[in-house]
Amino acid sequence: MRHPAGPATPMTRMGFFTDTSICIGCKACEVACKEWNDVPDDGFDFLATSYDNTGGLSADTWRHVAFVEQPVSVPALGENGIRWLMSSDVCKHCTHAACLEVCPTGALFRTEFDTVVVQQDICNGCGYCVPACPFGVIDERESDGRVWKCTLCYDRLKSDLEPACAKACPTKSIQFGPLDELRARAAGRLGALREAGVADARLYGADETDGVGGFGAFFLLLDKPEVYGLPPDPVVTTRDLPRMWRAAAGAALALVGAVAAACARQR
């Protein structure tokens, strides 16, 4: 399964299932990613937001572990209980990826594994992909002007290796594999959790009919997505692009009309 060169031909779609119910918040994924991809540090700021001092995904953080402390009720303690949600976020490798669609240079492209990757030899730092992403994933690295994000370890995949973050993850909260297999596994896991009474458990991004056509990296969450800083109903912006162009056409015609009207009289 090696592709040393040549055009990327579509193959089995590979992706991530991040099962946050077994995440221990160790951040091995963050570190393994940085070590593999030579990502610089993201600053040394104490954020006082539980154990999260990274804050979110950025050009210098491609895996980010969120920590959410919540009061819950516990049998022996009543309302006095607490739970601590931990979840490792990453680029979703969207089926309809806004970043990719808006990229004017083709720096962003879809690989043979159906992942979304920035080609650093092409990116010109136009920055368009940054506000296009509905998850706030991709970002510019100030020091070099280009944008960076998870590549789903494109180089490793090409060499038939597992991504660095998934490989490190001590509890296999991060699972890598063919997307359809992962979806089936996730459905099973969700069922088991629901059966065990975890009513709020849900899959996020496993649904192909959602606003971005499903994620290549989807999640099992134990609460609403926004609790983890994720948008509850993301939509790829280009879904509305035809409408935008129509509006633009109308506006352009309005300009032509206005000019024509203005020039209707000579002086």
Binding site: G56, R202, M244, A252, L255, R265, R267
Partner: protein, 301 residues
């Protein structure tokens, strides 16, 4: 102190703010001027208003000439623009814009050169025609560019933004034309100023009233809101002045033109700024989406 209700994850933004600096709203302005001016120039030329056509043509060239460096400033190095022509992507307004600009810039320059030097008049006319056709695209595509992002204040305004941008472009092109053209020849510019400003103000109002309240905020309050108010004041005053005192006195016309340009510029900055503020506000992203999900009534996400 205001009670703080933390939205989402420690109140952190869901989205990344655009990394663009002021070069970009400036470019929206110069591009708008260039685009609308070349259309104005062509129309004026057809109608035989040579003075007006000449100044609009030069305004267009100036707009183009200013746009290039602005884009380069944003990208960092000139060579980086070349990558824009690597692919042609209909899904990317920036790609579309880049190709259009690549055609428009030489057209506008050729038209002006021919006009000023009087050489190759046939080619000049073809170029002017091309500029006139591409001009509106240059003036509007930037609206689509910003709308085609995840930023609620931009994306959700995708219906109005092109009209806002076109109005703004028309008003600024007209303003410059008024400054550069004797009062006697500037009648079409004054009328265009009026219409442009009206479109600009109308589109803005429409946008404000249609947007979700969690989303419209930046346009009304804070820095972007203040910029918008100032823009409105400048554009309205400029337009009124243009069609009143501006018809008679050159000084009034110049003032009106300057006000219109300022209004247009402020509009661009206001929209730009609103985008940044919108991206920073998790509620703008989460609230409308949450209502959507709850409305669907599925467990879903």
């Amino acid at each position: 102190m205001r009670p703080t209700k933390v939205t989402g994850y420690y109140g952190r933004p869901v989205l990344k703010a655009p990394v663009w600096k002021s070069a970009i709203p400036l470019y929206f302005f110069t591009g708008g001027v260039a685009g609308a001016s070349s259309t104005l120039a062509f129309a004026a030329g057809l109608r035989g208003n040579r003075r007006l056509a000449r100044s609009a043509m030069l305004a267009s060239v100036a707009g183009v000439a200013a746009s290039g460096p602005l884009l380069v400033i944003d990208l960092g190095k000139p060579s980086r623009f070349l990558n824009m022509l690597r692919v042609a992507k209909p899904t990317s307004p920036m790609s579309v814009g880049s190709w259009v600009l690549t055609a428009f810039a030489p057209a506008s320059m050729a038209a002006a050169a021919s006009d000023v030097t009087g050489r190759l008049p046939r080619l000049g006319r073809v170029a002017a025609g091309a500029g006139a056709v591409l001009g509106p695209v240059v003036a509007t595509y930037t609206a689509v560019l910003v709308a085609n992002t995840a930023i609620p204040a931009w994306h959700d305004a995708h219906r109005e933004l092109p009209f806002l941008f076109v109005g703004s472009a028309a008003a600024s092109a007209a303003g410059i034309a008024m400054i550069a053209t004797p009062v006697a020849d500037a009648g079409p510019a004054r009328r265009l100023a009026m219409m442009g400003a009206a479109l600009e103000l109308g589109a803005f109002r429409a946008m404000e009233s249609r947007l979700d309240e969690a989303v419209a905020g930046p346009y009304m309050h804070g820095r972007a809101g203040r910029l918008a108010k100032a823009a409105e004041a400048c554009s309205a005053t400029g337009a009124v002045l243009a069609v009143t005192a501006g018809r008679r006195r050159r000084r009034a016309a110049v003032t009106a033109g300057a006000l219109l340009c300022a209004g247009s510029l402020l509009t661009r900055f206001s929209v730009f700024r609103a985008g940044i503020e919108s991206a920073a506000d998790p509620a703008a992203t989460i609230d409308p989406q949450r209502r959507r999900v709850d409305g669907r009534g599925t467990v879903g996400a």
